[in-house]
């Protein structure tokens, strides 16, 4: 009923790459939440960033190139070697600024993706989180409080670490970035330890 590991892995890995090629940014879910909250808390900064992003990028790059050529030209005139162009150039974000609206649409579409998936599988219905959740969280207001509290830990922790399963786990550790490797090893390791603790507590 669920996809085999190779299909799921190809889909998720391919999606992370497709997002980079389309946006020149790295995919990250917790970052979308952070971006929306920042925009809501500082609407004037959001407006400024949006206005900056509307500046014609072609004109901007043209001006930069002209300025670079001028500087290189004067250097060449004084007999200095033109510096060899760097082999690797930093990624220029295709979109300088992701509007809060785009971030919100991303999260809403995440919900819709779950809906369509469940509908195609024939199990779209209002339901609880399943047997395990009932066993560990109980039912009723207590379960809601535990989900809320656990959610706070997830939200707090992912922003503190600067990424979650997508940003650090998928897009960072795959590039062997030290912060992402430490983060991914830690949240998986702690998840394992805590799950065994949960088993022990409700045994």
């Amino acid at each position: 009923m669920f996809w085999p590991w190779w299909l799921g892995g190809a889909a998720l890995g391919g999606l992370a790459l497709a997002y980079w090629f389309a946006e020149r940014r790295l995919l990250g879910v917790s970052g979308q939440v952070t971006g929306i909250l920042d925009a809501v808390e500082h609407p004037e900064d959001e407006r400024k960033a949006a206005a900056m992003a509307r500046v014609d990028e072609a004109a901007l790059l043209g001006a930069l190139e002209a300025a670079t050529a001028e500087a290189a030209g004067s250097a060449a005139a004084s007999g200095t070697e033109r510096p060899a162009t760097s082999a690797r150039v930093p990624a220029r974000p295709r979109t300088l600024h992701v509007a809060a609206l785009a971030r919100a649409m991303f999260l809403i579409a995440l919900v819709l993706g779950g809906t369509v998936s469940a509908a195609l599988a024939g199990d779209l219905a209002v339901r609880d989180l399943g047997d395990g959740a009932r066993r560990f969280l109980g039912e009723g207001p207590g379960a809601i409080l535990l989900l809320l509290g656990g959610g706070v830990m997830v939200g707090f922790g992912t922003r503190m670490a600067g990424g979650c399963t997508s940003g650090h786990g998928l897009c960072g550790s795959s590039r062997l970035q030290p912060g992402s490797l430490l983060s991914t090893a830690t949240f998986f390791g702690v998840g394992i330890a805590f799950s065994y603790l949960m088993e022990w507590l409700v045994r």
Binding site: G9, V29, G113, T115, L146, G155, G162, S183
Partner: protein, 137 residues
Amino acid sequence: MIAASVVRHALFGFLLGFFLSRIGFSDYDQVHRMFLFTDLRLFLTFCAAVAVAGIGFLAVSRRTLLPPRMIHPGTLLGSVAFGMGWALIGACPGVAFVQIGEGKLAALASVGGIVLGNWIYGRVHRRFFRWDVGNCG
């Protein structure tokens, strides 16, 4: 080009939600069995995804310098909190949204907590900390 960006983000969000649901990452029991090593499918899925992304990013990184993700004082502590929360609620940030879409409405509390926790950290960080946590997306 905000309109185009909105459409692209809607498409990526939809695909990510669909994939996570089809894979079973939004299933509490599947996630719990992954953490207990009683079912390795989700672990293998994650490793395969990292391998696919890694090969692609490696090819890209020959010409482009991708954003570095360095260790900072929040990396360890934040990931510890995230790991505990993930094991408890059976959802990482993206998955909580997917669960709502599947009809598991209790995940509304998870998403509420995730947004609240993210907001609280923003406040705490501005008040007490100096380092740059970095951000993705």
